[in-house]
Amino acid sequence: MSIEPEFISKLSCELGVDFIDVRVQKRYYELIVFDNGVIRDLIMTTSFGAGVRVVVDGSTGYSSTNTVTRESIREAVIRAYKVAKASKSLSLRTELYKRPTIKAKISSQYSVEPENIDYAEKIQLLRDMYSVARSTQGISSVILRFGYEHDYRVYITSIGDYVEVGSRMIGVSSTLTAHVEGVYETFYDQESAVAGWEFIKSINWDEWVFERSKLVVETAKSHHVKPGKYDIILDNDMVGLLLHEAFGHATEGDLVMSGGSVLYGRIGERVASELVTVVDNGVIEGGAFVPYDDEGTPKRKVYTVRNGVLTGYLHSLSTAVALSSEPTGNARVMSFEYPLLVRQTNTYMEPRDWSVEELIRDTKRGLYVKGRGARGGEVNTLTGAFTFTSGPSYIIENGELVKLVKSVMLSGLILETLKNVDAVAKDLVVKTSVFGGCGKSGQIVRVGDGGPHVRVRGFIIGGG
């Protein structure tokens, strides 16, 4: 590649701008969709290009190009320069945190390159799973997906940064529909990892899909839970969703600095029970791989909540300055064409000392809320209301799981819900997905989330 910091620096001097950065990205994505025994889609996606940001007199402009040459980068920089200049009258004055220059190169670990595996082998994997699922009585539809992503990014700035990050993710998902006694029930689940083909070989997928097929048929026969307030135990997946929605978004520095978060100005305040410690970490087993953000800042482990007290926000270089803090490595883009936003990486709760069995045994009446089959969540950070869905879950009576119920929707308020956590288990699990991620302002980025099992008293539940 012919784009070095020196070239960008020269462009910066030539135009008389404060700062230029360039994000070069090459992404390969492979998706196979096996729909009821037929290949619905086998798609190979290749995208390549560079996004540029120009800061001129404190005003920020972006542009992009899908050919990466010195000439095309120069043209993109001039386009970004022009839009930044034109918007100056209403522009937010951007000041970037001056951190030391970074030069780094890192890639996620893998053993077997998935691109070298024949499509026939990948299709056979899905075909075998299909046979198992379809032979389960009550199953009316089976959609299976194989996904693989190789994302390579280079970050170059006019002040000398040059950071290369490569990441490989792989996974399989299933959408199973049961039709039992006139009732339809659908169940989605997936298993992904930052890894190569060896991850696929490490799982017994026939068993995996069989368990899920049985579960969706059973769920079709089950009932909705009565809406109301419940004591709940959230499993590892659900805790991740809860934290991501209930706290994660509201700690994102861009929302905080605009006054768009109920957590604005609350550093040092108690926002959760003292059992709750929330972390945003770029690299953790099971999670997404974000060792550096898209501003080249090393992603550091951030405690947003420590023992129930709000201790920090997530930052980019600009929000760190605006909120008198330090960058945390949370400036991210979906792809080179998009502008930077402050995003979560892997959000999870730190474990404590309960075992899962003890937690269930200690709960007289309530709901064991399971994440397998959940469809994600959403938050209004201004109102402080958040919501997320579960997969099929279980009624708890006298310390035992007594009945399967259909998936529920949970709702809470950011400043209240986590104050009701009264027990945290010791079984930390974090997960990610190659099929989706977190959405914000039209950009989806890969994230991970999780935690140990957690009990929350008096949670609002409804839906369905």
């Binding site: 995208s47 402009g61 009258s89 024949d118 201004l382 958040f386 929707m409």
Partner: protein, 450 residues
């Protein structure tokens, strides 16, 4: 550019493919992102997305690239390798020939995409001021647009195939959206506004900004209500969002064939109250789903999907139409340029009844009027189950608003809601994105709350 696409098709056939299809999206976009009433980022970008699908007998695959500078033979090597590895689809009957005559329909507003940077910024300032205006006129202590922005986009969609299809359409989109936060007497409230159209209508935009800006004052001090069964009145935008996620895809022929729709085997029978009529309408001026032809080049048509409660017609792509010996309906759309088109609504239009939201509110004995929801996308068209959390609602008792509501969960089933539970369908249709829906009054809805 079409020479390149023709070349890909020609070369694909020469390389041994029996059929080739090229689908291209060219896009130029101006965006102004707002934080705290200031532009945090100004963006100009152009992009091209080329999807090529090839068939060898009944084996079909696709490849996608985001540049015009690529080696066609290497690109086709990848496609051929994938096609040869793909098992036969027994139902495959080829890419479509030319079907129907696309109707002339306005999908493009020159005004949206030819403004200067300064004019976009003036529009941005004007819309933020208008949205704040009602709250400021009521003497709030603080009113600030916390986030939002403006996006103006020009898109050219081209579809070509080896069966002789060659069609192109230009589309424009304008998205303006903001969140407003206010404080009054120690209480806080917020409200969002979202204008999403293919044609800019200044008068309509101003009306929407003032109406939504006025509403923010209603939500000061909102809290959950008690759990129970309530009547609910859904504001048109909320009604549209719920219908899209809990129902729309159930009319897709693919979902019906594959056993993922409760409408399977029910065509011609009554599925809703006779108050409900739903149209697939590709000709609504300003709606984002308005199209002369679908992603396969098949001409679109306006058609009743549900008429007075009776399920009248299924939405088809070319693939599903051939598979079921039906006629393609111009509803084949794709989630990726190289993906197989699957049936979807162009615009979902719920035929208006009479009355409007405020009138329904006055007639409510005890219920919740719902203005904004989150999580509605977790509703499930396969079962019809509705899930949504209310962030902006009003509790109404004996026709009078008694307090604002947030953080409660709505639950139910869309087939029950639109049959035995539907009380009124409003006449107050609003068009946002690809829905055109009025207010809905629904009785006996399960609400999870305090």
């Amino acid at each position: 550019m079409s020479e390149l696409y023709e070349k890909i098709i020609k070369r694909g056939l020469e390389r041994g493919l029996s059929e080739v299809e090229v689908y291209v999206v060219e896009r130029s976009k101006r965006s102004f992102m707002v934080l705290g009433e200031k532009i945090s980022e100004a963006i100009y970008r152009e992009s091209i997305h080329i999807g090529v699908r090839g068939a060898l007998g009944r084996r079909v695959s696709g490849v996608y690239v985001n540049t015009v500078k690529f080696n066609i033979d290497e690109f086709l090597d990848k496609l051929l390798s994938a096609v040869k590895s793909t098992p036969e689809d027994p139902y495959w009957s080829g890419f479509p020939p030319l079907i129907g005559t696309p109707r002339s329909v306005k999908t493009f507003d020159e005004k949206i995409i030819t403004m200067s940077e300064e004019e976009y910024i003036e529009l941005l300032k004007y819309t933020m001021e208008k949205f704040k205006q009602p709250a400021l006129a009521r003497g709030v202590e603080k009113a600030i647009i916390t986030e939002g922005g403006l996006e103006a986009e020009k898109t050219r969609v081209t579809v070509m195939n080896s069966q002789g299809v060659e069609r192109t359409v230009d589309l424009s989109n304008l998205h303006i959206g903001f969140s407003l936060s206010i404080e009054k007497s120690g209480l806080q409230a917020d409200k969002s506004v979202f204008y999403s159209k293919s044609i800019l209508n200044e008068r309509e935009l101003e009306k929407m900004l003032l109406e939504e800006g006025e509403r923010v004052l209603l939500f000061l001090g909102s809290r959950p209500v008690e759990s129970g069964v309530y009547d609910i009145v859904l504001e048109p935008l909320v009604a549209g969002a719920i219908l899209m996620y809990s129902l729309a895809q159930a009319f897709s022929a693919l979902e019906i064939i594959e056993g993922r729709s409760p409408l399977r085997g029910r065509e011609g029978s009554s599925v809703f109250s006779d108050k409900i009529s739903i149209i697939d309408d590709p000709y609504i001026e300003g709606a984002l789903g308005t199209r002369p032809f679908d992603d396969e080049g098949v001409a679109t048509s306006s058609k009743p999907v549900v008429e007075k409660g009776v399920f009248k017609s299924t939405l088809h792509s070319y693939y599903t139409a051939k598979r079921t010996a039906s006629t393609p309906t111009g509803n084949g759309f794709r989630y990726s340029p190289a993906a197989q088109p699957t049936p979807k609504f162009t615009n979902l239009a719920l035929k208006p009844g009479s009355g409007y939201l405020d009138e329904f509110m006055r007639n409510l004995r005890r219920g919740i009027v719902v203005y904004e929801i989150i999580g509605y996308w977790a509703s499930d068209y396969t079962s019809g189950n509705v899930k949504a959390t209310v962030t902006h609602g009003l509790l109404v008792e004996n026709g009078v608003v008694t307090r604002p509501v947030k953080g409660v969960v709505l639950g139910g089933n869309i087939y029950e809601w639109l049959s035995k539970n539907i009380v009124e369908v409003g006449g107050d249709v609003k068009i946002v994105g690809d829905t055109a829906t009025p207010s809905l009054w629904i009785s006996n809805v399960r609400v999870g709350g305090e």
